[in-house]
């Protein structure tokens, strides 16, 4: 078994979560991109089309698109079709608002973390926790033998 790797990050919304990574190099807009009833990716121009985000740790460089994505994320969190957590390279105001509103309304915390996402692959096990200083601790358990070189 490969040793897990840990890195720190900044919380946009604090919380704990575990799940399998779903990694995209291209940002995904929740509005017009995800069906909040199912968690299915519906954006025909996105490589993730047809996959499902529910319960995953969604990993992508940034958010994208319309401010209506806040509503779609909040609605998905309410319905249980949202990712378990999201890792981003750059802070995203639209997703932060959606996640915080859902926490406020439904007391469901979907952690939103800004951290280095290099080297994370779809299928890796990800655990998001909180360090003593309040920073996010992201633990990555690679899914496969890293004989395949990874950037980190």
């Amino acid at each position: 078994m490969t040793r897990p790797v840990q890195r720190t990050g900044t919380f946009q919304l604090t919380g704990e979560a575990e799940g399998l990574a779903l990694v995209f190099s291209q940002p995904l807009s929740f509005w017009g991109g995800i069906d909040a009833e199912t968690g299915d990716i519906t954006d025909h121009s996105h490589p993730g089309l047809g996959q499902n985000v529910a319960g995953k740790i969604l990993v992508m460089p940034s958010g994208r698109g319309s401010s209506s994505s806040s509503s779609v994320l909040a609605e998905a969190i309410r319905r249980g079709t949202a990712p378990a957590g999201i890792l981003l390279e750059r802070p995203d105001p639209i997703l932060a608002v959606g996640a915080i509103v859902a926490e406020f309304l439904y007391e469901i915390r979907m952690p939103l973390v800004v951290c280095d996402i290099a080297g994370i692959a779809s299928g890796d096990g990800i655990a998001i926790g909180t360090g003593v200083d309040g920073r996010a601790i992201v633990t990555i358990q690679p899914a496969i033998n890293p004989a395949v070189p990874r950037h980190s």
Partner: protein
């Protein structure tokens, strides 16, 4: 990420001004951190695009703020809802949808918002003035406020517009700050002696929206508009094909008396020439319907028809006198409608097929009687969104051609 908060901000955040203000401030702080603002600034007004019912989370949010005793802290207007509260019989909606749609509109009123229900708050007595800091939602209202009035707002949307209203604060970033309002991309309208037709303004709007990306566009060569409704149409089109929140038109808009002022002394990153043919192509893309196609309806007033536009439409209706009962829907603000009724201006107009619609818009809810034919509009925004939203075919034309077509029952357009 060091967001500076003043004592009042902190007091809100700590819950000393109630749970609703605390929630709004918490969300505003997270948003401000995410956009990299250093501090918050005072706003004098807000416009909330939260009355269209999109799902339970949106309604739950407003209900929770109401339960927490929340009140907006600044003058706050409301965008259109999913329902025409003035003409309730007109909206074809199952009861299961109607109840939350109406409740969403009413819950906003309980927070102290004004019952404007218009996408054109700049046509009401609540219009802001030059230089005012505001937090507005609704893309056409945002671009109008920034460009035509010279008030200052970013593109606020879901939840965050209401959080600004509930706290009276907005992040000090983006278009709130003078240095970020300078032009970046130059569009030279290369049309000799252009007539200030409505189509010209729509066409220019469509083009700058498509080509600007996140850069602020500056237009030269634009003829002096007949009225601000033409700038409304330009901005609405630019915010439809793109994300334009502010444009400058040299010699026309208030922060662009000269090219140099519009660019704040800098050079444009890029210059694009717009020819008459470019305008023609942009407009042709809006309208796949050939002349002669049978007409189901006309829809005007997206964004909401101003009083001045009504004063152009009503004489035209009397003159052309369409008698085939083809419905001519006109979306307008309830305040404008009330004024027209007080003036007696609408008397007898139903005979020509006129159907005023208030509080909502014909492309966001089920109002049109027939969806199986061609609908004609003079709105670039309506022409862009209606096929996807309500499934109609659209013919775009000047207003007088829309009315002439209603009179003959099929699409006719003057050569232009």
């Amino acid at each position: 990420m060091t967001l500076e908060l003043n004592a009042r901000d902190r007091s809100m955040l700590d819950g000393e001004q109630g749970p609703s203000a605390a929630a709004a401030m918490k969300i505003l702080v997270a948003f401000s951190n995410a956009v990299g603002a250093d501090s918050l600034l005072d706003i004098s007004g807000a416009h909330i695009d939260g009355c269209l019912f999109h799902g339970k989370a949106g309604l739950d949010f407003v209900e929770r703020l109401v339960e927490g005793g929340g009140r907006v802290q600044v003058l706050t207007t409301l965008n259109v809802g999913s329902f025409d509260l003035i003409h309730p019989g007109m909206v074809k909606m199952p009861a299961a949808e109607e109840v939350p749609a109406r409740r969403l509109m009413k819950a906003h009123l309980e927070l102290g918002c004004q019952a404007t229900f218009t996408c054109a708050p700049y046509q009401t007595r609540f219009r802001p003035s030059f230089g005012e800091q505001i937090a507005w939602g609704e893309s056409n209202a945002i671009v109008f406020a920034n460009s035509v009035i010279g008030a200052r707002t970013n593109r606020y949307g879901d939840f965050i517009d209401l959080c600004c209203a509930m706290t009276g604060r907005a992040p000090a970033w983006g278009l709130h700050l003078s240095e970020n309002r300078r032009g970046r991309i130059l569009f030279e309208l290369d049309v000799p002696d252009p007539e200030p037709s409505d189509s010209l303004f729509v066409g220019v709007g469509l083009i700058i929206g498509q080509a600007s990306g996140d850069r602020i566009p500056v237009i030269t060569g634009l003829p002096r508009p007949r009225d601000e409704d033409q700038l409304k149409a330009l901005g609405a089109a630019a915010a439809t094909t793109g994300a334009v929140a502010l444009f400058h038109a040299v010699g026309v808009t208030p922060e662009a008396s000269t090219l140099d002022e519009a660019f704040q002394g800098h050079a444009p990153d890029e210059t694009i020439r717009i020819s008459r043919a470019d305008i023609g192509h942009a407009l042709a893309r809006l309208s796949g319907v050939p002349d002669g196609a049978p007409l189901a309806a006309v829809s005007l007033g997206t964004p909401h028809f101003s009083h001045q536009e009504w004063m152009r439409l009503l004489p035209l209706l009397r003159e052309v006198a369409p008698g085939r009962r083809i419905p001519i829907y006109v979306n307008t603000g309830r305040a404008t409608l009330t004024r027209l009724q007080e003036e007696g201006a609408l008397a007898g107009m139903e005979a020509f097929g006129l159907i005023p619609v208030a509080d909502t818009c014909t492309y966001v809810t089920s109002i049109l009687e027939r969806l199986d034919g061609v609908v004609m509009t003079n709105s670039g925004k309506w022409a862009h969104y209606a096929p996807g939203n309500i499934g109609v075919s659209v013919a775009f034309a000047e207003m007088k051609d829309c009315i002439r077509s209603a009179a003959v029952g099929y699409v006719v357009r003057s050569a232009s």
